[in-house]
């Protein structure tokens, strides 16, 4: 396999560079000449006398212009025009030919695609033709007023007179050309090669071009158009086919597959297989040969920065840092804890001191004494003391058993705290409300003074007592509830532990059986889940297109939806005729509850099942090394989606050309593959020979013994062998068949035309403006060049 990348350097120039190649014995064949655009302005226009004709090869792919008598055209460019808008100035400009895309960024090219003046191979858009001729003459160096040279321009075979006359008009009127001649490019190419001895005087010229393919028989050096044949397939269709195939295969690289790029790929890598099906079978079987023939294009891709496995020192260093940080944190925590302990101890001491002081003070002075310290009663001090001791103990980190004791103590104290609960309502007194824990302190109050007040207070505060009692009940129940929940959790934990232990024992005593059971359970669970899922998505009637869920044409509802429908319709139509009394009774609304319950049931069951499945699969993974959890059956979607589920790798950015390499040029031989219902190259020769006006065995033999190939598309490797094999199939046995290729299929047409125009008798073949206007359209229709001068 050979991999490569390409770069676009200057306008029209492309070069390939190979990044790496595996150990493959396939040596790169001699590279074809890439098409080069030459658009440098020529400076020697004025050096040519007025009699020197200008030769133009007006092809659907490239436009070539130059002087007669030379071997190379001076200016070559792609025959397209773009009319983008300049981004800053906003004016619409015309750009002819293909240019460096870097410069095009100043223009807004979204609305203007490249346009060609051709439709098939006939010029029909003369405005664009005018832009192209403008550009061509400008680059040839034309200045002064008018083009004062005769022009020889090529056209297609049997050009409709409308196109021909418009072209002549354009040349005469707008450019001031004195005389014009039209010729067929294939014929020029044939004559050129005939002079070089490649082909004989009688022969068949086959020209697979850009948008059409022609076969023209030559008898006595002149083309016989009656025997010619044209199929509307050419290099454009091959490139288009390749582009679409690659876009369909790699949809996420579609942006990279521009038409120019694909054309380059085609020129570099496509070939014609001698027999399509046997070649395809090679690839289908995946033989070594097929491997060698596969080319792979690696798109530029930056792998995500991989972290190198850290070396020993790295690990050690990081560990040390972590250790140090941990140490620091621990120290800080230690310091905080000790400071807190100190604080608490201080507080404890303070409280203890206060209590002792309190004992010494007289009962009467307690409120005033306490007000200074901020506590209201002795009980409060005692409770805060208890809290502080507890937190101190916690801070010191004493074992839990003590904590349990403490909890019990707090429980006991709680019971003390809620004495009111146990006292029935009517026995509550105001005193207990106000000072719930201190009946002792009420001593020598002067009863006679305050009885009245007390009675009043009693009456007013019964409600408050009730409220207080209710609050205490509530608090107690909530704390009790919390404790109960905690206990349940503990119990559950114990239960689970027990179960795990049992499992372990079972496993240890009989590992095989255990594994088997587990696997069976796993299978059963996964089946159930799958089934439920299938029910939900209506089976696999969708074309992989999982946008269903809603009701589409022809998709059946799943069970739940069906049920809902049934309920709704029966409810709607069950009532009396003409009147809808749904909702009059309360039971009607139960309908919706039914419907939602149907749906919910499924979900709950599904969740439980899935949780169970997860547990079982994890268990299986632990004990059975060979177990691989079954992947979720994601319906196999197009290759575009699958890569997104895992991190992108280098392979995702490779475009592989395997079968496409010979599948695309195959359409030249079988236009049926792209839907064009016409004959292919090999059959065309038969058609052409059949169409010849005279039936002459000898002539036919002479024709087939000199089959001449020209045109850009004949540069595919393997073309000659295939053509020969194809023609042999349709000719009688033993007929001489000899397929030759032009010296330079691309430029020979221009060269032939140039040679032709340089001859002295060329001027007889041209027609002037006067001729054109006098003789009229009919004469123009019958105008044909004579190629043998």
């Amino acid at each position: 396999m050979v991999c490569f990348c390409s770069q676009l350097n200057r306008p029209g120039q492309r070069h390939w560079s190979i990044i790496f190649s595996t150990a493959s014995r396939e040596r790169l064949k001699k590279k074809k000449m890439p098409f080069i655009s030459k658009i440098k302005r020529q400076t020697d226009y004025n050096l040519f006398p007025s009699s020197t004709p200008i030769v133009i090869d007006n092809g659907a792919s490239y436009f070539r212009i130059g002087w007669a008598g030379e071997t190379e055209p001076r200016v070559i460019f792609r025959n397209i025009v773009q009319r983008p808008r300049h981004k800053t100035t906003g004016e619409t400009v015309s750009i002819v030919g293909d240019h460096d895309p870097a410069l095009l960024k100043y223009f807004d090219c979204t609305r203007s695609g490249p346009r060609s003046a051709f439709d098939n191979d006939v010029v029909y858009q003369f405005e664009i033709m005018e832009y192209i001729l403008d550009f061509a003459f400008d680059r040839l160096g034309a200045n002064g007023s008018g083009i004062d040279h005769p022009v020889l321009i090529t056209e297609c075979v049997c050009n409709p007179v409308h196109s021909r006359s418009k072209m002549a008009e354009l040349l005469f009127e707008t450019y001031g050309v004195p005389s014009v001649a039209f010729g067929v490019d294939t014929a020029f190419s044939y004559k050129y090669n005939q002079q070089h001895g490649i082909c004989g005087q009688d022969g068949l010229a086959i020209c697979p071009g850009f948008s059409t393919t022609h076969v023209i028989p030559f008898v006595g050096g002149e083309p016989v158009y009656r025997g010619s044949c044209r199929t509307n397939i050419g290099g454009y269709h091959v490139t288009d086919y390749l582009k679409q195939l690659l876009s369909l295969k790699y949809p996420h690289h579609m942006a990279r597959l521009t038409w120019e790029k694909v054309e380059d790929l085609k020129m570099e890598h496509c070939y014609i297989a001698p027999d399509y099906f046997s070649e395809a079978r090679l690839f289908q079987k995946g033989t070594k040969e097929a491997e060698d023939k596969t080319r792979c294009w690696q798109l530029p891709w930056v792998p995500p920065p991989t972290e190198e496995p850290p070396s020993e020192e790295e690990i050690a260093r990081k560990a040390a840092i972590k250790e140090r940080q941990g140490q620091r944190l621990r120290e800080m925590a230690e310091a905080k804890r000790s400071s807190r302990i100190n604080e608490l101890e201080n507080e404890l001491h303070g409280l203890g001191f206060l209590l002792r002081q309190l004992e010494q003070v007289e009962a009467n002075d307690i409120p005033s004494f306490l007000s200074a310290t901020g506590y209201v009663s002795k009980q409060e001090i005692e409770s805060s003391l208890a809290k502080v001791t507890q937190s101190l103990r916690k801070a010191k980190g004493e074992p839990k058993s003590e904590q349990a004791e403490v909890e019990e103590k707090t429980e006991a104290s709680m019971n003390e705290k809620y004495p009111l609960i146990h006292i029935p309502d009517n026995m509550l007194t105001s005193e207990q409300v106000l000072n719930p824990k201190e009946p002792k302190l009420k001593k020598k109050k002067k009863k006679c003074i305050i009885i009245a007040i007390v009675i009043k207070l009693l009456l007013a505060m019964v409600s408050i007592q009730l409220k207080e009692k209710r609050r205490q009940i509530f608090l107690k129940t909530t704390t009790e509830g919390r404790q109960r929940a905690k206990q349940k959790r503990v119990e559950e934990g114990l239960e689970r532990e027990r179960k795990n232990q049992e499992d372990e024992e079972r496993r240890l005593e009989n590992p095989e059986l255990y594994a088997e059971q587990m696997r069976a359970k796993y299978k059963e669970l996964s089946e159930r889940i799958d089934q439920r899922k299938r029910l939900k998505t209506n089976g696999s009637h969708t074309n992989g297109n999982n946008t269903s869920g809603g009701v589409g044409r022809g998709e059946r509802l799943n069970a739940a939806q069906r049920e809902r429908m049934r309920l709704l319709t029966t409810a709607a139509f069950d009532r009396g005729k003409g009147e809808d009394t749904f909702g009059a009774k309360d039971e009607d609304w139960q309908l919706y509850k039914l419907m939602s319950r149907d749906n919910d049931d499924d979900d709950e069951g599904a969740e439980a099942d899935e949780a169970e499945l997860a547990r079982v699969s994890s268990r299986l993974q632990e004990i059975d090394p060979k177990f691989v959890p079954k992947q979720e059956l994601v319906p196999p979607q197009s290759a575009a989606e699958a890569p997104r589920l895992r991190p992108l790798t280098k392979e995702d950015f490779q475009i592989v050309l395997g079968v496409e390499r010979f599948r695309c040029p195959e359409i030249l031989y079988h236009p049926n593959l792209v839907g064009i219902d016409q004959v292919g190259l090999d059959e065309m020769t038969g058609v052409s020979i059949r169409r010849l006006p005279s039936k002459d065995e000898d002539l036919e033999q002479r024709l087939t013994s000199s089959i001449f190939m020209t045109g850009g598309c004949c540069l595919f490797p393997g073309m000659s062998q295939r053509l020969e094999a194809g023609i042999r199939m349709i000719r009688p046995c033993g007929a001489p068949i000899n397929v030759v290729r032009a010296l330079d299929p691309v430029l020979d047409a221009w060269r032939g035309a140039s040679l032709y125009a340089a001859k002295l008798q060329f001027t007889e073949q041209t027609f002037t403006r006067m001729d054109y206007y006098e003789k009229g359209e009919d004469w123009l229709r019958r105008y044909q060049l004579r190629y043998t001068l």
Binding site: T89, V93, S94, I95, H99, D100, L103, Y106, D119, N120, V122, Y124, F126, E127, E130, D134, D138, A142, N143, G144, G146, I147, V157, P160, H162, E173, Y175, G176, Y225, R226, S228, C229, R230, N232, Y241, L248, F277, A280, R281, F283, Q284, N543, P635, P636, S638, V659, H670, P671, N672, L673, V674, G675, I676, D677, Q678, V679, G680, E683, M684, V687
Partner: protein
């Protein structure tokens, strides 16, 4: 215009000395241009080839006939030989794995594959 654009002479100049009639005179701004060009079909119709002798070669005469050979059946996706076709989508496929792919294609891709073969359903 930016300097490099001018230097590269990307843009076609509007005035050329050798032209008798400039573009802006021929096609004044504002008028709809290009819509009055006849397409090939219209050109051929206007040619009236019926009025001329039939054995004279003209553009329509020399078109090739349909092929006599039986058409090759290629798998739409892989390019191998495809003896089968899927009745639901009308795509040709080579073997069972390709069939799985064919059945899993979204309909947009199906139409595009068919359009390659000119067999897509075009609703007009």
């Amino acid at each position: 215009m930016e300097a490099e654009v001018i230097e590269a002479e990307l843009v076609l100049p509007t005035y050329l000395s050798f032209k008798r009639v400039q573009m802006y005179e021929k096609y004044p701004k504002g008028q709809s241009r290009g819509r009055h060009w006849k397409h090939l079909k219209q050109i051929l119709q206007a040619e009236n080839y019926r009025n001329y002798p039939p054995d004279e070669p003209n553009y329509v005469n020399i078109e090739s006939p349909p092929s006599m050979h039986p058409c090759k059946r290629l798998c739409d996706m892989t390019g191998y030989e495809a003896p089968y076709y899927d009745p639901r989508t009308n795509l040709r496929y080579a073997n069972a794995e390709v069939f799985k792919l064919v059945r899993s294609l979204p309909s947009e891709y199906v139409q595009r594959y068919l359009a390659l073969r000119n067999a897509a359903v075009v609703l007009k």
